[in-house]
């Protein structure tokens, strides 16, 4: 049975194709201004990568903030349920999923088999999201990958008192003007994001094991700060950005065979 999950995120759109629950292929592209068109394109790319066609699909689940407007018939399931399912499929001991994407951060408490018990989401604001880090990377003239490396080697951290993206950016500009080394600023920014995440984690009740999904999970610098704060290791899936689409494809398979 061929199923697909399509995750239309604020920044990137992802697709995962499964055969009987086994991973066949995936694709990812920027959502951009034409999210509907790109949802179909990314699904076709994933299908092409495993030599299959759209007509062969038995079921599709769409998720992410653009889930309601995908241009093909699909069941919609929220990204909260899909990330929980995707994270649990890879790490069955997961009890807390931390998903940090481009526009949202969420903390989800899960029980076997990947069932959502409780969740907390950030407010209508970029604080503590991938967007926050992107804006700061631009102010610091750094690539996102460089930020992780700098943060890991910082011996001190600059204090960033604001979690608001706009205010924090002015703080970063002031710190640069004061001559603070960039590694200390980056470390301070990662601490600020972790403060924010820690608030969400406390709200749902921290319980190991932790699994982090979403693009920001690829940032080893932030992960290290968060691991120290939680006093626990954090699992990261092989493709953390695809966890939502993978969960969606799994849900499609489970429902199609039921």
């Amino acid at each position: 049975m061929l199923t697909a999950g399509v995750d239309v995120g604020s920044l990137t759109t992802k697709a995962v194709v499964l055969e009987d629950g086994r991973w066949l292929a995936s694709a990812l592209r920027l959502t951009g201004a034409s999210s509907q068109q790109n949802a179909r394109l990314v699904l076709d790319e994933a299908l092409a990568a495993c030599g299959r066609g759209f007509a062969e699909l038995d079921a599709i689940v769409a998720t992410g903030y653009g889930r309601i407007s995908v241009p093909f018939p699909a069941r919609t399931v929220t990204e909260i349920t899909c990330h929980a399912r995707g994270a649990w499929a890879e790490f069955a001991s997961t009890r807390t999923v931390i998903d940090v994407g481009g526009q949202d951060s969420k903390v989800i408490r899960v029980e076997p088999p990947g069932r959502v018990v409780d969740f907390a989401m950030n407010d209508k604001c970029a604080a503590g999201t991938g967007r926050f880090l992107e804006v700061m990377a631009r102010a610091l003239e750094l690539e996102l990958e460089e930020m992780a490396q700098l943060s890991l080697r910082a011996r001190h951290k600059a204090a960033i008192s604001s979690t608001c993206t706009v205010f924090a950016e002015s703080e970063v500009v002031s710190l640069i003007a004061q001559g603070r080394p960039r590694d200390e600023i980056v470390r301070g920014l990662h601490e600020a994001v972790c403060d924010r995440l820690f608030g969400l984690i406390a709200r749902v009740g921290a319980e190991p094991q932790y699994t982090m999904t979403g693009g920001v999970a690829k940032n080893r610098g932030l992960l290290t700060v968060l691991e120290a704060r939680l006093r626990s290791r954090i699992n990261v899936p092989q493709n953390p950005q695809l966890a939502g689409a993978y969960g969606a494809a799994l849900i499609a398979w489970e429902q199609a065979r039921a």
């Binding site: 903030y65 929220t78 959502v116 018990v117 409780d118 969740f119 989401m121 407010d123 209508k124």
Partner: protein, 66 residues
């Protein structure tokens, strides 16, 4: 009863002040609890997409308990 949805109106101190007590009481009895924040008067303070996602995710988690 399957679960509790609590609406916190923007600027309402009663809702904001009591929400954690209600959340804890529900957690003790194992009752799923969702707090939605919004503004009944001014749409600028609400985020429709986020409210929708929270509500749908809550309903999905209730359905998975059955």
């Amino acid at each position: 009863m399957d679960g509790v949805i609590h609406y916190s109106h923007w600027g309402c101190r009663q809702a904001t002040g009591s929400v954690d007590l209600l959340r804890q009481a529900c957690r003790r009895t194992g009752l799923p609890f969702l707090n939605l924040e919004g503004d009944c008067i001014d749409p600028r303070n609400g985020a429709e997409g986020q409210v929708r996602t929270r509500l749908e995710a809550f309903l999905e988690s209730l359905a998975s308990r059955r």
